[in-house]
Symmetry: D2
Subunit: 277 residues, 4 copies
Amino acid sequence: MKYFLGCELTYDIAANTTMILNVEVQRGSSQTIISERFVAPPGVEPQVHEVPETGNRYQRLHLLPGTSVIRYEAEVITSPTVHDPASVVDIAVTDLPFEVLNHLYPSRYCQSDRLARFAWREFGSIEGSFQKVTGICNWIFDHVDYIAGTSDGSTSALETFDYRAGVCRDFAHLGITLTRALGIPARYVSVYAFGLVPQDFHAIFEAYVGGRWYLFDATRLIPIDGVVRIAIGRDAADTAFSTFYGQLVDQPKKVWIDRLDGEALEAEWTTSAVSLG
Amino acid sequence: MKYFLGCELTYDIAANTTMILNVEVQRGSSQTIISERFVAPPGVEPQVHEVPETGNRYQRLHLLPGTSVIRYEAEVITSPTVHDPASVVDIAVTDLPFEVLNHLYPSRYCQSDRLARFAWREFGSIEGSFQKVTGICNWIFDHVDYIAGTSDGSTSALETFDYRAGVCRDFAHLGITLTRALGIPARYVSVYAFGLVPQDFHAIFEAYVGGRWYLFDATRLIPIDGVVRIAIGRDAADTAFSTFYGQLVDQPKKVWIDRLDGEALEAEWTTSAVSLG
Amino acid sequence: MKYFLGCELTYDIAANTTMILNVEVQRGSSQTIISERFVAPPGVEPQVHEVPETGNRYQRLHLLPGTSVIRYEAEVITSPTVHDPASVVDIAVTDLPFEVLNHLYPSRYCQSDRLARFAWREFGSIEGSFQKVTGICNWIFDHVDYIAGTSDGSTSALETFDYRAGVCRDFAHLGITLTRALGIPARYVSVYAFGLVPQDFHAIFEAYVGGRWYLFDATRLIPIDGVVRIAIGRDAADTAFSTFYGQLVDQPKKVWIDRLDGEALEAEWTTSAVSLG
Amino acid sequence: MKYFLGCELTYDIAANTTMILNVEVQRGSSQTIISERFVAPPGVEPQVHEVPETGNRYQRLHLLPGTSVIRYEAEVITSPTVHDPASVVDIAVTDLPFEVLNHLYPSRYCQSDRLARFAWREFGSIEGSFQKVTGICNWIFDHVDYIAGTSDGSTSALETFDYRAGVCRDFAHLGITLTRALGIPARYVSVYAFGLVPQDFHAIFEAYVGGRWYLFDATRLIPIDGVVRIAIGRDAADTAFSTFYGQLVDQPKKVWIDRLDGEALEAEWTTSAVSLG
């Protein structure tokens, strides 16, 4: 699928501010960047960094007082791998590659050590790891209400599990937590999401099953094969689209993703197993 | 039912210690004390206090270094009110007597403000307040494991809700929390419990439905009509059987309750609505 | 001191709503109500209740859809007892009257069991119980920032202790928690507060020292002898000025308290020990 | 410094168990392994993995029912870099290498987002980043009691900050949390620690100041230049010396580290800035 996507961020800088952005899409065999453009404010030279282990791409900008507009846009072709869930073969936790083991550990917002008993009781008897994670997503969708304003930046999965309301960040954290609690590696993914209304950065998660990271979204707000990956990490602590040191007021941001390939412009749902590699 | 019950508490006092005990049974129309005896260590004169609002009975003892043995024993006749649950008439939260309203509030170990969404979704559609609380007890029994050593004195209902394991104190706290979350007053009750194995002080809860406080126990460890009430309170913070200021080591305590009425000495289960008034 | 005080509450009722208000001032030897008037919406007959143990006064109103205006106003004379802090004699925790013991227990928002080690280390060496509580208030004032919007209805003293910001409710909760942690009974008090800018209901706390409940306010926003007591309780869970069951939107409320006694209309500070009995 | 170190772990395996160990020391320019030997139970062939980013070394063993003894021993020469703290030059958070930024993020046991206000108020005015972290360690040593049994595997830095007691793991977590809260990267380090009494695995932390990871230990139990690094990670979640999937009972473990270089066998203290690279 071919997309034109991007964002425009506007800040009223009150005092010298250093901003670290993580809005550029990842490069990879399933995400080909045809063209992209990052426009910093006049006179600002970004430092760039791409993390080898994750592919996350950062830009650091030193901004002076005044209004700063930052714009990123890209043409991207994604070629997600799509499988029949029934064909995804299980890997026992004892046979996982060492590389993915750290995605079993609890993290700031995903205290998987506390929900193991619940997770096993509720999902343990579902056959198949992919199906277990699907069961987790269905459970979250059925038991947690998507309500803006019920959580904030310090809300963790345990609080969402208790309070039963949240936004995409909270749905992803709870999904990750329950997945890890079953001994299945899981990570947080920030994305541009085709079909999301209203448009914004979106958060979903990936679980490592059958030797591959498959995409999951318990919010059911978007077709899972319509995402373009920006960043992966253990949870939201690792994948903020912007972090700053200084003083500023942020104006409303614009985020967009449109299809360019002449195919149906409508979002279509899939229950297939979808991976971006 | 007629019982002989009591406890024997042994402390090795290391330095002058003030001990506040709450082990004597409540007096009331449904709990008649035939005889009772409180034996303080030689030379110790207890101060006594019975709280008018609750009926809880305290004894304060100033203990000197050495071994102190404290013994309480009583013959008690209980005459619980037993109703068919189907006959218990609902009272809307908006029509509750003012006197019971404070048992709707969240307390130290029962953060009912955080579980309202869950409680309404899970139990809201059950017809009848008594049946709702029964539903809560069934849910706890089905979803929480009774395992000694998984909780401690700082464990609250939210932690039990997450971790899904605990002991009688935790079962009672979670029951109270979910009951209050539905707008039904609930309180913590410490009791002598006939049929409990091994014998110890036991914790259950009461819910105010149909104009009366009915007894509930989500552990299913005892017949609910075989309890003798010691103390009521908002949660375990209010009803400790002993509190001390000083320095001591406690030896294993003895707690007992035996039937004296020549009737079946076996515990028998009931699903009736049982109240001690 | 003589005051004219009151409040006006406006609600847009969307569906039949039961409202429980706790806005009337307490009666007592130190708070004489010269006159008072509670104006319910036309056709609404409030049920009233005064709790014997606390003196809190409730009104329950059944409100129909539409706009409801509720007004309370009173002329009140307060005659606080004022002592030199140096003259307040200590009572050991082991000699406290039984009646106040339950204000030593931890409560929903005041987990005093968790901060005992800190409290003793920081305040344990201060001579005198009154001075210990003063030390607690000074510490809170020095270490916690008063910032609106940093807390909400679920914020407890532990969170304020960690985050070091909050509003009057949080300052009172932390003060209560640290006071109880030292073995000194403490309770939450909602008040009309002369000199508070901007005017609103205010929250402070009382500690039981020297045989009396003395007033404390770690916010230093008001003169402590200029308060009129509405409600006392273990913490904010017990003392909400309004609780409702139904559906409504609340309009901005008005709260006022003015001096009527021709004396200085300016707030003046005191470091005396002040009690309303 | 030259050491002979190692550990011997004994497990009574009840059912087939997969064990992942992380007990071998890291290789590096400051840690030269002269010789080492890992002895798995007879017939067990460990899979090994060394993580490129961290240098952590894992061994995975599939153990059958029965008693399994696992032994690791090594001769290691460490050559820590030692600087005068006054010579360590500050790096502004805005100039940190991108590689270390993820050690600024909060993690499972180190919720640095919640303690920023405290950290800046308490340590913000200390000149120099190294000195700030030293100030944090001094504060922890002065304000937190080292008491075994006051924490468990789910205890996080916030709980230690409230409760003011813990063990090495908790001291390290709180140190990391406060360091990150000041905008200084920090990570958890598990070590063999010369001079630790009684011998066991030990936990300390590293802060990234002046372009280097310096070692810190708020417990003051060991000389900081006498450690040999096993694993680094965000917190204890990343660095468990053993993780298992199966069923077992663990017997008491042996851990040792002795000096082989003929120099003083006594632990000597240093306040220098010490780094293992």
